[in-house]
Symmetry: C2
Subunit: 472 residues, 2 copies
């Protein structure tokens, strides 16, 4: 753990234990710097981390204060996972979720779509037009199996921000992060293999394991620091695990960034047991902290991490543009790419490469990160206000997804059915588990909040939950 992380934890605990009551002014940066023998910038970083966790507010010219407006609810509980590999279920629920978008007028509170309406994204549409108009018709031809050099070069540049120096030759462009994950899993595992996953975990990756006949072993995962290294080590001792699949940055659905020390510890474990890590970084560029957190991939020096990502969350999911950095598995990844879809689509590759090259990516990123961070406070407020007391919520450090844990009695699939006539829909928690856990949890998307639409919808969800509580 870094110094500032350590300091942030100390201060955070004091706040949560009520030592500094809400609204109170916190010690000045200079005071803390003296008290703890650390630099001023370390204290500032610690305070910024606590701001990210919504525990602290900075007031211009007066310093740092314990967040007054709200008492934050508790964190979601760490799952008590039965430690054995399971066949993955939940496809029916996933299918219900991904096909439900058809219903016109539905307010989807749980989906995975970012805000696409910002002016900072407009140049992307213009780039698509420009590429379609090229007289060399380059958009129409088959591309290379590993993707266009233009785009791979740009991605290699972007990846420096997450700590990696990667050669464009070692990237393979994919049809979204879905295909990247699918390639990664098939590059590393075979039918019947066991894969350790964070829990809760992205349903797409788990359904991919299911589809290829693998078993998932859900590892208890802390809502602030991520997958438990200790539980993982125990599991590795007990089972012939082939790979670890996880989303360490801006996790879906929990929103945490794993601290670097834990990422490194995870990598050491993987080295020790000689297994692969499939790292999903699809939300990584949406971290609220600056610079964005490092990937596990960036610490890897023997090619065992397969990094999967896409532009679906940062730019636009409809373009289906992702990539994989497959490390030492490149040959096998190319075969899996070829038999999955052949080459990737040419047009969006060239358009995105152009968009990044012109500098629009970073501008857009700054804009949406800010919006998402602000919306997080709004959404958290609404949940506190409208949901029954005792509700637990995640502390996202990036992205646009909030994880909400309700009373154990509440089944969110039933909640969704009750909300159907009102044309409101949340994401049910059970799809984030290989075995249908988290039935009392739900996921909310706060990428784009309209007070006239979303506040009444959240209020209504709260009311229905209240009713469900009362009816037992």
């Amino acid at each position: 753990m870094n110094r500032y992380e350590h300091l942030a934890n100390v201060l955070g605990e004091r706040i949560e234990q009520g030592l500094y009551p809400s609204g109170q002014r916190l010690p000045s940066v200079r005071m803390l710097s003296n008290e703890h023998g650390v630099s001023v910038s370390t204290v500032q970083q610690a305070y910024r981390m606590l701001e990210d966790r919504l525990l602290v507010e900075a007031r211009p010219k007066s310093g740092y204060f314990v967040s007054a407006s709200k008492r934050l609810p508790g964190l979601p509980a760490v799952c008590r996972t039965p430690q054995r590999p399971v066949d993955i279920s939940q496809w029916d629920q996933v299918l219900a979720q991904i096909t439900s978008r058809v219903i016109p007028g539905m307010i989807a509170l749980g989906g995975g779509t970012p805000d696409l309406t910002l002016p900072s994204l407009r140049p992307l549409s213009r780039a698509l037009v420009k590429v379609a108009q090229r007289t060399d018709l380059s958009a129409l031809y088959y591309d290379l199996i590993d993707g266009s050099k233009e785009l791979r070069d740009q991605i290699a540049r972007l990846m420096i921000d997450s700590g990696s120096s990667i050669d464009a030759e070692n990237l393979v462009i994919t049809t979204g992060c879905h295909e990247a994950l699918s390639i990664a899993i098939r590059s590393v595992c075979e039918f019947g293999d066991i894969v350790a996953v964070d829990s809760p975990s992205f349903h797409g990756a788990m359904q991919t394991l299911k589809g290829f006949g693998m078993k998932a072993l859900e590892i208890p995962t802390d809502p602030v620091t991520g997958i438990s290294i200790e539980a993982l080590e125990m599991a590795l001792e007990q089972w012939p695990i082939k790979a670890i699949q996880l989303t360490p940055n801006c996790n879906n659905p929990l929103g945490y960034n794993m601290p670097d020390e834990r990422k490194k510890a995870l990598l050491r474990l993987a080295q020790c047991y000689d297994i692969a890590i499939i790292e999903d970084d699809v939300y990584g560029d949406l971290a609220y902290q600056y610079p964005r957190p490092a990937t596990i991939y960036s610490f890897d020096d023997d090619g065992r991490v397969l990094l999967c990502s896409s532009f679906s969350k940062t730019l636009a999911p409809g373009l289906r543009m992702g990539w994989i950095a497959p490390g030492r598995y490149r040959d096998r990844a190319l075969h899996m790419k070829y038999i999955g879809t052949g080459a990737s689509a040419t047009h969006p590759q060239l358009a995105i490469a152009d968009f990044i090259k012109e500098g629009y990516y970073q501008t857009h990123l700054r804009r949406i990160r800010q919006q998402y961070q602000q919306n997080l406070c709004v959404m958290t407020d609404w949940v506190i206000r409208y949901f029954p007391e005792g509700v637990r919520v995640s502390r996202p450090q990036g992205g646009f997804l909030l994880w909400v844990e309700l009373d154990e009695k509440i089944d969110t699939q039933k909640l969704n059915r009750l909300l159907e006539p009102e044309k409101i829909q949340i994401s049910v928690g059970s799809i984030f588990s290989a075995s249908g856990k988290y039935r009392n949890c739900l996921r909310l998307n706060y990428s784009q909040l309209d007070e006239k639409i979303h506040e009444p919808a959240i209020k209504r969800v709260g009311e229905v939950i209240h009713q469900m509580m009362e009816n037992g």
Copy 2:
């Protein structure tokens, strides 16, 4: 077999046996109609078929003549396949072929790209521009998992031409025909299963079988009528075959259309042994005959045929837009779609739907079919002129690919190496076999022929083959 097919075969045999020498006038339509007791239009259809096979030429006002300009070389031999399932090899050669496009200035004589430069395709680029400019930003959003209704509706309409009445609900849009095949194979088969394939066969499908751990059983295939029903039946008796994967229309690489009777016989076999058929129809709309040949899918009434296709050969491969009609396997196909790539890209779906709806598809099709049919004669001429005597060539009835069989001594991989310094490349035959057969064969693409570029290139290939023959 139809009456006209029967008649065409009788006449064709007489010509090939030299009963009617080249340049000679053939019996008039009326005479044959009397002689064989069939209608005038049946005779006309038979003659048209023989024209397609380049055996006969129509001369305005004077009737039909045996093609004078060329004596057609023999047909490629039917492979004597060792009748046992094999693990698929050849990935290295496939990879070499699909990555070789990087070399600047290379004349690729063997690739799978259609002509994209025709004015009749111009409206597709315009449609891409239009969709990118839509103010509702629809191109950027996630699409439904089975694809956009607009495009599915249009495809359902197009499929009427191949004899199918299909509901748009029973189609799933895919990332090219590659993904359609990948989905089909995974929907029907499991690790270790045996799949019967035509031989030679599309390498993409075979590599997919390889990638998912299945074995291929290559069935002898006639260069004019397709996969041998008799050999297939024997194989079905002997082995626990799970599915048949084949390209019955405008076959790649042989170019034949399986006669309807043989398609029906194949379907009966599949019913009898209760197995699935994976039908690749990617070139079907490029058949030179009118109306285009029927699919096996169109005869199927119990949902055992999974039809796979795309717009890669008719429109543009870079858009990666295909589809699957998965019959009774829809649920599993949706799961496989989800875990392969998630939803398909939205932008090209909407653009292609628009292009078809405006009537541009049929116009373009007419234009390119005509060009390909003309180019076939040109390319065949060149091969006859420049390749050593004894060369055997296919009689494509659609598409833009010619299969050439050389003397058994010639290894086309070696040929390609010898051509490398001249920046000329052909497709080697061995990638079209699961086990490296057809080493003395090659595939040529005649979609777009420039006499200044392609004739000298073919001539050079012929010279190098001559040299190889001389050097033993």
